[in-house]
Symmetry: C2
Subunit: 477 residues, 2 copies
């Protein structure tokens, strides 16, 4: 390929010298596509896409760009939900798609090392082949990459059992903005030596370095699973049921599902899912023994409406889970939805939800709010369908989150979408401490410069960084 | 109290202005005692002890000291095992002993906020009073403080079930070296907003700030517990048993115990503990149902020697646990022991242990090696009794740790004791990344300056910090 003119010649030549001509893409159509978020709602500009083969090439690319004042945006599977991979400064797009090495599964230590570009689906596959499982699962599994999931500290369907991505990471290979390659791959199960950089890098959204390889914890596949989908007459009853169920051992999933969503899925997608109740809760128990009785006992203490659908064998479980999986298609029914990802304290979760629905009905009467969420974490995914313009809705809903003591991001991250709402759940002193870290590792602010920090931290002069950003006054300190 | 001459008058006056005369102690005897590690093996020099009442006073103290070039060493319960609270530069000792506020236990969210100076025993007490438990327990519970346990990311007897201290922390109040008070107290159960500073601060050994208050996760007390102490003919059999047991649900503790230690405890302390086998494993299962059968089934797959001692009711469990608890007294039988705290990969754990015992027998023939450890984490506490001088032993044992791919600290931290061994399990690039953080938050290197980083990071001129330390060549990069 040749330089199609989007990229400064000296930068292009330097990148080609690192990765070879075939791995520096400057085709304007390709770049325009990659500079646009998968929802189509957010777009930016990129000057080249570069595809390093290993950490050493990543290091060289970062050095090329840093020395020439070129911004870099890292791209994995581009399935993120907060516009975290949209370049804003004619960035170089650093793709992880060639970082796909897969190590041997360590069946004794239940661990595997994979490149940042390996997809979640591939990871699940290799865990399954070894008779094991990987503890994080999300709907975008076919495209989402391990590196992106570490960068955003992805959560998902089984967080209640296994934790977020950060809890799976036992080691990392990271290229720092200054080009240093840090390899932390403890061979032991308990490491308490020095700063917990693994947790710091997990969820830092590519602002502190490029994750190039990850050591991941695998788990024994529990031999017995049972799940149930139970209907409830009110959100309050569903939330109370979640609390009751959590007192049991072996809860593997605890999902809140909006009955309105199931009705939509039946009407518009022909999905064979239960309908008729305003809310549903999907519960899965797993372990070494059959937990059907424990699941039944837990649900018997809840205000369940009607008879729960129970799944024990694979086919039965798939039927139950269909009511949750269908939301991946459902939320796109009228084009890209407006998505909110917030965790709320349990005592405000119901009020927040009712008020958020009322706000949608008021501001965008044609829109359809559809909810689901991870009940154990109080994490609500509030999707607004048929809502072409989110300009009015976004601040109104986030004001509600603030009012109800929720957070900006429960599992999607902050990205560019929520960067100006960071002070909703973090104090100014906290954000300033984060900025101290960012400045220490990336004083030029050239790596993933668009994400995480509020606009006030981005001065017009990119060479000069403020000591701390000036946040819009929010009544917090 | 008046200034007894140990402290520069301007510093003394400034500290008195912050906390009042009664809370600045300069009595030379008191300071000499506080500047000596509880083992008596390590001592330094301090110029005053100051006892702030809250985070604002901590902030003012740090500002006083930073502006005057005075080093500060933070002291909690001073029960640490790596000389992490020994001042090396006529430091001001910042005591957390007045930071003992205790919040209401949130029985819905299973959370409590406590001051950094609250002891672990007090925390257990208030959890028990609420019908709950706190997931970390260590032998020094009567003196160890929550702040110190966060700073060292303490582990202990139930890490296999609940994780280290870091896993209990849901929020922190931290005073940064520049005096900023950062309060991160998420009200939600799942927070993925910004850098994971909670994990960064946990285990940072007071080098990045002073923890003044902690939000801690509490747990439901499992209604049923059962434990057993099983004898084994070899360390290899005991390690294999640990692996077998871990495949069960509900493992609450999995402790390796040295039969030689039990024999010593019986002979010298008159302890009523089982003896006769070279190694023992203590297993505890807990949960909502009786797991006695599961425990028996797990042990039946192991090479157990003789009949295990089983504990079901409180008295029975105490009898079993006595074989583990007795080590707290036992290791001090001949004065302070030399202690090693390392995690090893499972495949080298036995070899390391055999070779370490041989090294002790060779170098200090009169010494007695006594081991115990947390088998799930591969964490060995290798104690050498009757060993007055560790000068020869220390490097020899740590060389073995290095050879067997172990780490410097599994749960005690690095402190001053192991600071020059940091490169044993971390690469130079990793340590340099840690130093980048330390420099960003504490450019004067005045807060807990003696711990964690190798001597090469401490230049003679305390006002000038190197970009990165020069580590002794260790064949690693």
């Amino acid at each position: 390929m040749t330089n199609d003119g989007t990229c400064a010649p000296d930068v292009y030549d330097a990148l080609v010298a690192v990765v070879g001509e075939g791995h520096v893409i400057t085709d304007p159509d390709v770049l325009a596509s990659l500079a646009t978020d998968h929802t189509g709602r957010w777009s930016g500009r990129a000057s080249a896409r570069v595809r390093p083969a290993d950490a050493a090439e990543v290091s060289a690319i970062l050095t090329v760009c840093r020395e020439r004042g070129v911004k870099v945006t890292i791209q994995g599977g581009r399935t993120g939900l907060v516009a975290g991979t949209v370049p804003e400064h004619d960035d170089i797009l650093l793709s992880t798609d060639r970082l796909v090495d897969i190590g041997e599964v360590d069946r004794d230590e239940l661990r595997v090392t994979v490149g940042a570009g390996v997809t979640l689906a591939r990871l699940h596959e290799l865990a399954t082949d070894a008779g094991l499982l990987f503890g994080v699962d999300i709907a975008s599994r076919d495209s989402a990459t391990v590196g992106g999931m570490v960068a955003t500290n992805a959560g998902g369907l089984h967080t209640v059992r296994y934790g977020n991505m950060s809890a799976q990471v036992t080691g990392l290979e990271v290229v720092l903005p200054n080009g240093t390659i840090v390899r932390r791959h403890p061979q032991v199960r308990a490491d308490n030596t020095g700063y917990d950089l693994l947790s710091l890098w997990s969820g830092s959204e590519g602002t502190l370095g490029v994750v190039t390889a990850v050591d991941l914890r695998l788990r024994p596949e529990p031999p017995r699973r049972v799940c149930a989908l139970a209907g409830f007459g009110s959100l309050e009853d569903a939330i109370a049921a979640g609390r009751t169920v959590l007192a049991s051992d072996g809860v593997d999933a605890l999902e809140l599902i909006d009955g309105r969503g199931l009705q939509l899925a039946r009407d518009h997608l022909g999905a064979e899912v239960p309908t008729g109740h305003p809310w549903y809760v999907l519960v899965e128990f797993s372990g070494n023994h059959d937990r059907t009785d424990e699941l039944a006992a837990a649900l018997s203490q809840c205000a369940v409406r009607g008879e729960p659908a129970v799944g024990i064998d694979t086919a039965g479980r798939q039927r139950v889970w269909a009511a949750r999986e269908v939301f991946a298609d459902l939320v796109g029914l009228f084009g890209p939805p407006v998505k909110f990802d917030a965790a709320l304290p349990p005592d405000t979760l119901a009020d927040f939800t009712h008020e958020a629905v009322a706000v949608v009905n008021d501001l965008v009467p044609d829109a359809i709010p559809v909810l689901f969420g991870h009940l154990a974490e109080g994490n609500i995914h509030f999707n607004v369908l048929r809502c072409p313009d989110d300009a009015a809705l976004y601040p109104a809903i986030l004001d509600l989150v603030r009012k109800h003591r929720g957070n900006v991001s429960s599992e999607h991250g902050v990205g560019t979408l929520k960067r100006n709402y960071l002070d909703l759940s973090l104090t100014r002193a906290d954000i300033a401490a984060m900025w101290t870290l960012k400045r220490a590792f990336d004083p030029e602010n050239f790596l993933n410069p668009a994400v995480l920090f509020p606009d006030s931290y981005r001065l017009p002069d990119p060479g000069r960084l403020p000591d701390s950003g000036r946040l819009p006054d929010s009544g917090r300190s």
